[in-house]
């Protein structure tokens, strides 16, 4: 496995508040990373920094061996895609059109989407279970459908690195599992990697092989999921006791119920 994204001595802050300092991290092709931490600890800002959408105070980020800052935006968008936490759908449009915007970075300005672009978008919509809604108007979608559409657009973008900010929000239990399975499968070919911000420790443990736990700006634990997600580390991160229970379904994380 080769390094897709390499972070060296990264230092970032937002509105004067330090988020991390001296972070060294390597994300290999084929790996799936979970980013966990309490509200407001800077998970989203970290993700945006990795996408080149937030300035960093110090440190280097390289993508496939190239300095992130020197990659032209359009090419970067072919290598790296990001799912944002909020889906903005102010103007009208159909589901298929919204999925197709993922092809934008792959098309020259004067070119139209080809049959194969449309096929890619359709198969992504089918994967997230929106195949029969392709001509629906965006404003008529439910929150969960919008979220799945955004994931379909990201799959249509077909970038090597996908950064996802809470991909499971708004999704019901079935779609949480189903969507994360699709995302996991997308890394099986071994040339793609995922970085997902997740709030559900169980989903992180189940679908990710690596975890980055933001405890405080000086303490960012990272490594294989099993080593990082311990009761002790999770207590430090969330300030609440979490039990790691052995069941017939494997290990399950549960908050301690002390009421």
């Amino acid at each position: 496995m080769s390094a897709l994204l390499a972070i060296h001595r990264l230092e970032i802050s937002i509105a004067g508040n330090r988020i991390c300092r001296g972070l060294d991290l390597q994300i290999d092709c084929g790996s799936r990373w979970a980013v966990l931490g309490r509200n407001g600890c800077g998970k989203t800002t970290l993700l945006k920094t990795l996408a080149g959408l937030h300035p960093r105070d110090a440190g280097e980020i390289t993508l496939s061996g190239e300095d992130l800052d020197t990659i032209p935006r359009a090419r970067l968008a072919r290598m790296l895609g990001i799912l944002f936490q909020e889906q903005d759908t102010a103007f009208p449009g159909t589901v298929l059109e919204a999925a197709l915007i993922g092809r934008h970075p792959h098309l020259a300005p004067w070119r139209r989407e080809t049959e194969s672009d449309i096929e890619l978008a359709r198969s992504a919509l089918a994967q997230v279970g929106l195949a029969n809604l392709e001509s629906r108007i965006l404003s008529t979608l439910s929150g969960g459908e919008r979220q799945r559409l955004a994931i379909a657009a990201l799959l249509t973008q077909d970038s090597e690195l996908c950064l996802l900010d809470e991909p499971s929000t708004h999704l019901d239990l079935y779609h949480q599992i189903h969507t994360l399975r699709i995302l996991r499968e997308s890394t099986h070919s071994g040339d793609k990697a995922l970085v997902m911000v997740l709030h559900d420790v169980n989903l992180a443990a189940r679908f990710c092989d690596h975890a980055l736990l933001l405890i405080d700006p000086e303490t960012l634990l990272h490594g294989p999921t099993r080593e990082v997600l311990t009761e002790e580390n999770l207590f430090k991160a969330y300030g609440y006791p979490i039990r790691r229970l052995a069941t017939e379904q494997g290990e399950i994380f549960s908050p301690a119920w002390n009421d």
């Binding site: 996408a51 959408l53 935006r73 359009a74 090419r75 970067l76 968008a77 072919r78 895609g81 990001i82 944002f84 903005d88 759908t89 102010a90 103007f91 009208p92 449009g93 159909t94 298929l96 059109e97 919204a98 197709l100 915007i101 993922g102 934008h104 970075p105 098309l107 300005p109 004067w110 139209r112 989407e113 049959e115 449309i118 001509s135 973008q157």
Partner: protein, 330 residues
Amino acid sequence: MAHPRFALKSSALLLGTLVLTGVASLLFAVATGSVPVRRHELWAILLGDRSAPNYILVTELRLPRALTAFACGGMLALAGALMQVLLRNPLADPYILGVSGGAAVGALSALLSGLGGLWLTGGAFIGAMLSMLLVFALTQGQGAWTPTRLLLTGVVVAAGWGAIISLILSLSPDTTLRGMIFWLLGDLSQASHPGLGVGTLVLGLLIALISARELNVLVFGELKARALGIGVDRLRLRLYVLASLLTAVAITIAGNIGFIGLIVPHLTRLVVSHDHRVLLPASALIGAIFLVIADTLARTVFSPVQLPVGVMTALIGVPLFLYLLRRSHH
């Protein structure tokens, strides 16, 4: 949109139909008036028969006026469509950021000084450019160039121009007041050289079409557009300058024709498409046709009295738009 391939074919068909309708509207405008021109005579004139009795009337009065209306309608509708994406605001029209206010102050100042002709058009154009640069400089001033900042700056500058316009009107003698009011309402009776307008419309549309797919992405939000590889700041600047220039040229030629730039893009979104590759040319064509017809009616309905065309655009546009808006909810 059932199938994108189908949509591609149907949009080509649609744009073709609009072009033909545009030609038909021009013929209608040229043939209609206090002296009706019959069909066979019209053909003869258009083929260059100088001996036809109405040759001068058609080639030097009606045709330039109709073509000017066509170009101005197209420019205003296109500018409106661009402004609505730029500001992410459905209420945006070509005049919202003060370009028209600046042009009006320039034009009215010329009229107040007793100057006409080139001074009037020059004053309007300089006023429009001045307003565009002023709003840009004030928005650029500190930090981020967000649509909200641009909108607020533009609206406040427009309000400032509004006050100066009122001041000029209140200081003007009655003799010049009528000309001023007509200018403010939009007036095509002075139109004689359609080349500039038609050229600007064609060029502007081509430039806008290069960015059309980027606009489709930009409507999903600034962050998403950046993440999909679009240089959002440069795109916005291009939109702002292009929309302002189109508006400035239209206003300089035809005065302050209202309403087209606001409703035509919405009407096109409602009945045609929201894909900017179709929306932009379709808006321009519908705006063009709309103004040609409105102007023809404005000069014939109460003939020999000519109404300001701006009155006619609103009289036709308001009920038409409300009807389509209601229908689209069923």
